[in-house]
Amino acid sequence: MDTENNEGVFSGLTILAFCWAVVGPLTMKFFADNGARVIRVETSKRPCVMRASGPYKDNTPNLNKGGYFNYYNSNILSLTLNMELPEARAIAKRLALECDIFMENYTPGNMEKWGLDYETLKKERPDIIMLRQSGYGSWGPYSRLPAFGMVLVPITGLPNYIGWPGREPLPVGVSAYTDCISPRFATAAVIAAMDYRNKTGKGQLLDLSQFESAIYFIMPGVLEYAANGREPERIGNASEYAAPHGVYPCKGDDRWCTIAVFSDDEWKTLCQEIGKLEYTEDPRFNTLLNRKKNEEELNRLLGLWTIKRTSEEIMEQLQAAGVAAGVVKNTADMYEDPQLRERDMYWKMEHPEMGQFTHLGQSFRLSETPARPYRPSPLLGEHTEYVCTQILGMSDDEFVTLMQEGVFE
């Protein structure tokens, strides 16, 4: 099997990962998609919650047929270890010490229990780089609290910005929204740490909290409170300094478009495009302040125009005229999106259990060293033998003995 010669920025690097749910795989992906050999430790005793989540291929619950798991784990190798057994812990420790980076995002306490905490590992390998990325950080008052994105979203305050005036706050519709935030901060820090080690010989522990990194996504709100004592208010789809600014109904079942007008010129263009140039002189709509005052009526009138057209027609027509407008894309639209397709956001690969299956690609492009789909998401334990015999150099006999003892379950 060709697992060693992936091209890319991280070609030649080996990473050991105890990763969970989505935060772990998104972090691993940044490395694996760019050539690193990423060994993910799993166990059939307690499979990742994603392996046990639908949707399943053929509607058949099966640890290797989960669409959620397989969407996020391309290019990653799967090693199964039953960490209840000392032999498994010894293998994990050896890999942690020999690889270039050791990363984990389990609830704090697990690594300590298995003797894989930074202090222990550092004694045997002073220049080790270890990334911990739990919900609330590996130390501190909440450290032992299991976290997941649907709870981290409210605790960072984001739903204060989602909802209609006077009504209840709502979750971000893409559940576990914060899951995609900390992997980016973590990856930037890990690469910086590798460079630092290359230059100084020093390793380090990097400790991230998903909660803390998500706060960077609402920081203006914190400063608004600190400076002006003002808490966020729910304002629907409005903007304080633009009108019209909203989501409008279009022709079809549950079809919508956005329109956002930020200047008098754009307002005039929009009026022309909808055949209502007289609105630019209308005392209800002639200035931004008047449009804000009469926003409800403005939105209603604009909706009368949009409802007769498809969201695609509106996007094309208004964008061609220079007004910001777009389709509110549902999943089918996202899947077919010509721009995202051109930018290689999805990787279709043949997966042994899923057949032709779309895996998530990268979110940006590097011009000289593009991320690549090397292999589909792994079956549970698919690379156990490879890791043990090829990387750790176990003999076949040794491997079989350990297997019979249940070490690789």
Binding site: V22, S53, P154, V172, Q204, M219, A227, P232, T331, L366
Partner: protein, 410 residues
């Protein structure tokens, strides 16, 4: 860690976070604005509501740890100065419209010929090529085109925007990752490259399980209001719950994790006399969200809802931590500043704004490094605050600096 790196940050609000992350990792990030200050100093709100470009809170939020200079790159002198600055830089980060800098003769294609090791991050709404490349953007438009908005809001009403702009943050963070990858590559090979980031792609990258659901079943996840979509077809899984003084988020879930949480919650409710017979007798280990019936869910969710209403969000959080029950109070901004978990990790750091005579709270750091302290060092720059020190460091005399200022170049 990046102490020996220099970043020239020409971004508007679309790209602030990229330079911020690099600055927080120790790089010397120089924000370059047009003379008089960039238009992104007018985005969002202002300190004490005074609409002054030196008091913009959005600017403050994402430009701390950066120095700032002014430069008009549309003048011949400005372009020459820019090229001089590039000689000292490792990274360029910009968020101009596709082709703008090429048009000035200082785009990536020209500069990479002068300095092959330069790393250049370009952040655009949709990318430099493709059918949407010239589309106008704003956060609501991009978020609508990234899949998130369609799924947010009430089932039978219009999709909802997150009124705190998000697309630019996804893109800025991605640009920082791309810059670091390119930097790692450059340190190995000596070669720079272009990091091409689009707001739409970065914001649309994470859509939970929407794409596999669609590919495997043809199903499109719809809005579900205060509930969570996509688990059981007919049974609502409530996410947002009113409590005594606000809201908490909580999900009734199945599986091992769900069994642990629901048993602990039932025990907690029982200790206050609020667990129903149904909850006390429920075999949580066999509870499955995919097969749960509507009345079963009601028997579970109703008493939990009643229990939450008798407590404040703080009481619920305090009770949840030792029991390892995943309850998320909806934090106000004040709550965040007083949060015990954050304060227990010394998260907030007061940074001085001498001109305003105050300190404001900033995240101390996004990562705790055992090697070095990466605490936030200083507030966002004033307009042209570091013109003297930066321009004199590339050899300009005081007289030249004054001349360029009079000519509107800096």
């Amino acid at each position: 860690m990046l102490d020996n790196c220099r970043v020239l940050d020409l971004t508007d609000e679309k790209g602030f976070l990229c330079g911020k992350i690099l600055a927080d990792l120790g790089a010397d990030v120089i924000k370059i604005e047009r003379p008089g200050g960039g238009p992104s100093r007018n985005v969002g709100s202002f300190w004490h509501d005074i609409p002054d470009p030196e008091k913009n809170l959005y600017w403050f939020a994402y430009n701390s740890n950066k120095r700032g200079i002014t430069l008009n790159i549309e003048t011949a002198d400005g372009r020459e100065l820019f090229k001089e600055l590039i000689k000292t830089a490792d990274f360029i980060v910009e968020s101009f419209a596709p082709g703008y800098m090429d048009g000035l003769g200082i785009g990536y294609s020209a500069i990479s010929k002068l300095k092959k090791e330069i790393i250049w991050a370009s952040i655009t709404p949709f990318g430099p090529e493709g059918p949407y490349k010239d589309f106008k953007d704003s956060d609501i438009v991009v978020m609508g085109m990234s899949g998130t908005m369609y799924q947010t809001g009430e089932r039978d009403e219009a999709p909802l925007h997150i009124s705190m702009p998000q697309a630019c943050l996804h893109a800025g963070a991605d640009a920082a990752v791309g810059c670091m990858m390119a930097y790692y590559h450059r340190e190995k090979t000596g070669k720079g490259q272009l990091v091409d980031v689009s707001l739409q792609q970065s914001a649309g990258w994470f859509q939970a399980n929407a794409i596999p659901v669609y590919e495997l079943s043809g199903g499109i996840l719809r809005r579900a209001g205060a509930f969570r979509a996509g688990m059981s077809k007919d049974v609502g899984q409530r996410q947002v719950w009113p409590c005594k003084d606000g809201y908490v988020f909580f999900n009734v879930i199945g599986g091992k994790q769900g069994a642990k949480v629901l048993s602990a919650l039932t025990e907690w409710m029982n200790s206050e006399g609020m667990a129903t017979e149904y909850l006390l007798n429920k075999e949580w280990d066999n509870f499955d969200m995919f097969s749960v019936a509507r009345d079963e869910m009601a028997y579970i969710q109703e008493p939990i809802g009643e229990f939450f209403k008798t407590h404040t969000s703080k009481e619920l959080m305090d009770g949840a931590v030792p029991r390892q029950v995943s309850i998320g109070p909806l934090s106000s901004m004040k709550d965040l500043l007083n949060d015990e978990g954050l304060n227990g990790r010394d998260f907030w750091k007061d940074i001085e704004h001498p001109e305003l005579g105050v300190t404001l709270p900033y995240p101390r750091q996004f990562v705790h490094s055992s090697a070095e302290d990466y605490s936030t060092r200083f507030r966002a720059p004033l307009i042209g605050e570091h013109n003297e020190e930066v321009y004199s460091s590339i050899g300009l005399s005081s007289e030249e600096i004054i001349t360029l200022k009079q000519a509107g170049v800096i």
